[in-house]
Subunit: 230 residues, 2 copies
């Protein structure tokens, strides 16, 4: 196949991937001509892709001065997790109230997969992290709220992956997360919305605490404040 979709889609996807994985460093200025060259396309499609990423808040544009990759600092992550707690908490309550039995089964299947996966290769945290997002998305879908789904699978998804890549060299915590997932699924299976919301909020808050600790430690180790302006 040549180009299944449009060039803008290709560019947006590759750019997002490069930003998320850190291939394009945070705060780095992006050169349109160079990127267009690298992707083998004109500047037009690339600019449109950048505009889309702008909407997803992966880059920010200063008129006549180009676009830069966002800087995912502590404050931004804190804001993101606050938003997630509110949004996914709500979604989890709605999901518990509305999910069909087959959807609950799907969720339990996913959970079982995670369990065996963690059982087998106890350290393979990366894939767990990736499919942790599947778990959250499945629940968002259960809420029947298209806006939450699109936020979670769009900009939140990218920012969370970006955060993981940033903190992945340090240890994760798959086991407590799995336990919490199990509790959440159980509450959903019993259609207990109130409990499901509470558990999900606690789960996300716990994740933030864990990430915050990592970031603080990281910032402490890199405490030599060398200027990196312009």
């Amino acid at each position: 196949m040549e180009t299944a979709t449009t060039l803008v889609d290709v560019a947006a996807k590759r750019l997002a991937e490069a930003i998320v994985t850190g291939e394009l460093a945070q705060g780095q200025k992006l050169n349109e001509a160079e990127l267009a060259e690298r992707f083998g396309m004109g500047r037009g499609p690339l600019r449109e892709a950048l505009r889309r990423l702008e909407g997803q808040r992966l880059v920010s544009r200063i008129p006549n001065a180009g676009v830069r990759v966002i800087i995912l600092d502590r404050k931004r992550l804190e804001d993101l997790y606050a938003v997630r707690e509110a949004l996914e908490g709500m979604a989890c309550r709605l999901a518990a109230e509305q999910m069909t039995e087959s959807e609950v089964l799907q969720l339990q299947d996913l959970l079982a997969q995670h369990e065996t996966q963690i059982e087998k290769d106890g350290g393979m945290v990366y894939s767990q992290s990736e499919s942790d997002l599947d778990f959250h998305f499945l629940i968002a879908r259960g809420s029947r709220n298209a806006m939450v789904m699109s936020l979670l699978s769009g900009e939140h998804f990218q920012l969370l992956r970006m955060c993981r890549y940033r903190t992945s060299r340090n240890a994760q915590r798959p086991r407590p997360a799995l336990t919490q997932h199990r509790q959440i699924v159980e509450a959903i299976a019993q259609h207990d919305g109130e409990l499901a919301e509470l558990l999900m909020r606690r789960h996300i808050r716990g994740a933030w605490q864990s990430i915050r600790a990592l970031i603080d430690a990281e910032e402490l180790s890199a405490s030599v404040p060398r200027k990196e302006n312009s």
Copy 2:
């Protein structure tokens, strides 16, 4: 002054305005060449503006088939208000906990303005509705959460204005809303986060109930189900 900003900004602003006010009907297909002609610019900037609006969910694009104005149906509004309840409830709690005294004063000033305005011209609901959003944005700013602020002042803002234009020919309810606003400000002034969140959530839920009633009545009157496909 000629063009204070870039053409893309101009196009995006005019398009958003046209969509919000209904000048461009919901579901209508947008012709790039025609719009570029109308705005006196090339198709390039216009396309980029459309991509930005795509990010704000004011239009949706189908590859090789053009962009269409979103349809703000009942379901979409219901989703929006659920998101608002969760998000602004959270923001209101944070605002109550973190706002400075001068910020609280600002809020009280705004409230007083609304009171005198409603006192004077009891029916002038439009401006009230517009500045109702100021009220909500001031609180979002008090939360110190940039993500909430940007959501509220970006896509939520536009969608809410769009909703108002759609239901403005019917009666609004400025007085109960004002009372609720007063309660919320009081809770914030006392830095009672829990109460502030509860009141804000109730306020938004109430607004949704009111709007839902309007929409249902409207859909009932236009109950002749004529097909409007393609």
